[in-house]
């Protein structure tokens, strides 16, 4: 790229950092900078609802790179700086400070934020949300003295924190509007098992339930009231009701936004000089005929960061991932390969009562996802099957004595 202007990355989260690193690894030697609102070094978020709440204490272990990495790789880190506008005609971004930075290529890695929740508008002490390291520190500090925690939302975040808090002896009650946890990501069979698993760890649930108000005393949260009249005592409330992508920059400069910045297989927006990656990008999922999806996961972020680096430097192949996700739930390891839809069928492999089983998801006869509970070998198999668009017959999946690995070796041979 014969252009003295820098590649500018908006964001300082993992997507931004991995893109900067990948550009250098792929041989880009030009100017490069990351600009984002959060202060400090980029850090990894997954541990914030897991190990960081449990046992980790050294913040350096969360930093994705140390300060000297930015120096030795000649990557500018403009932290604590908000990008206020993109001027596509001038190839420039304007910061809230007024400073203008021109770009040769702009990568939007603005991430997501917690969805606004009406009850959080006049905040009570002890009513928290969790997204940033500062949020996690606050939650960690308050968990130390909390006896009753109510979690609003039974998604990944809420369920992970529920497991951690219960293990610390906290009485945990999870309130969820849907009829089961993690509805968007999991089959009913896996959801049911995870509910039981967390119940055994001491967590209680209200499904099909909605919060009507938070009650407080002396400015501190005291109870959570549900629309059916149930009152749950609480000295700590965590709202974990999902995220929304940060896309205001695109709306203002005419980039299409539909549950994320809309990008093509090269992760470009309609403006070829602007790409989007990570939690803020809605990309065509090649596996599903190019339907737009937006994913919130480390794997997706890293894969997209590497892909964008390669395509900026001239590669032309379309992004074709096999998405994977994982969670730690009260000592169990959940791994998911692929993105199944809510109505996709489910075939159980293994006995859930053994605490080790998987659910294979199907749309008609086509495998779309594999959910594994303490069965990492099934997860790996699922990844490989999905990568190669292979779908084992349902009856073979249901039969544990049937060796599904053979399917892979047969096709390779």
């Amino acid at each position: 790229m014969q252009d003295s202007r820098p590649i500018v990355i908006v964001g300082t989260g993992q997507a931004a950092l991995q893109a900067a690193g990948a550009l250098r690894e792929e041989g880009y030697v030009g100017a490069l900078c990351m600009i984002g609102e959060e202060r400090g070094l980029p850090y990894t978020r997954p541990p914030l609802s897991k190990a960081w709440l449990e046992s980790m204490t050294d913040v350096r272990e969360l930093h994705l790179e140390e300060a000297d990495w930015f120096v030795s790789n000649n990557i500018g880190l403009l932290d604590g700086q908000r990008v206020a506008a993109v001027d596509r005609a001038k190839h420039a971004v304007q910061l809230a400070s007024g400073r203008v930075v021109e770009y040769a290529h702009l990568i939007l890695a603005t991430g997501a934020r917690n969805r606004a929740w009406p009850f959080m508008q006049s905040p009570l002490k002890g009513a928290l949300s969790l997204r940033t390291l500062a949020d996690a520190d606050e939650l960690k500090a308050q968990l130390g003295s909390a006896a009753r925690l109510v979690i609003v939302g039974a998604g990944f975040l809420g369920m992970e924190v529920a497991g951690v808090a219960a293990a610390r002896g906290c009485a945990v009650h999870v309130v969820e509007t849907a009829e089961r946890p993690m509805t968007r990501a999991l089959s009913a069979a896996m959801s049911a098992h995870i509910t039981e698993h967390l119940e055994r760890a001491g967590v209680r649930f209200s499904f099909d339930a909605q919060v009507s108000r938070l009650g407080g005393e002396a400015g501190r949260v005291k109870l959570v009231e549900l629309t059916d009249g149930t009152r749950l005592d609480a000295d700590l409330v965590l709202v974990a009701a999902g995220v929304e992508p940060c896309c205001e920059l695109g709306l203002d400069c005419g980039l299409p936004v539909f549950n994320g910045f809309v990008v093509n297989g090269l992760l470009r927006t309609i403006d070829p000089a602007i790409s989007a990656i990570g939690d803020c990008a809605a990309f065509p999922y090649a596996f599903d005929g190019g339907d737009l999806i937006r994913l919130e996961s480390v794997q997706n972020t890293v894969d997209q960061a590497r892909h964008i680096a390669r395509t900026i430097l001239g590669a032309h192949d379309a992004f074709d991932p096999t998405p994977i996700f994982w969670s730690e739930l009260a000592g169990a390891r959940l791994q998911i390969a692929g993105v199944a839809r809510r109505l996709d069928g489910a075939v159980v492999r293994g006995d859930p009562r053994s605490g080790r089983f998987s659910v294979f998801r199907y749309r008609h006869d086509r495998l779309t996802g594999v959910e594994s509970f303490n069965r990492p070998a099934d997860h790996m198999l699922g990844r490989r099957l999905l990568q190669r668009r292979l779908s084992p017959p349902r009856e073979q999946v249901a039969d544990l004595s049937c060796d599904l690995q053979a399917l892979l070796t047969e096709r390779t041979a």
Binding site: P376, M380, R383
Partner: protein
Amino acid sequence: MSSANFKLKVSVNQDVCVGAGLCVLSTSDVFDQREEDGVVRLLQTEPDEAHYEKVLGAARKCPSKAIRVEKIDDTAAPGGQP
């Protein structure tokens, strides 16, 4: 890190590894994934100094914090090795 007076000792916790494989992307000389389940496999516990930056990066980026790197004083090599 041209003349370290310490050594890095690497260990992995296979019970918490989720098989994301980011460590292998960092350096496939030190980390591998088990064929059957994708869980991390350590190829060297005391890698060569040339791998230090990549190994430290892999430990930091590991999403399940399954990689542990200990810095141990290398008194046998005061002032460092060439």
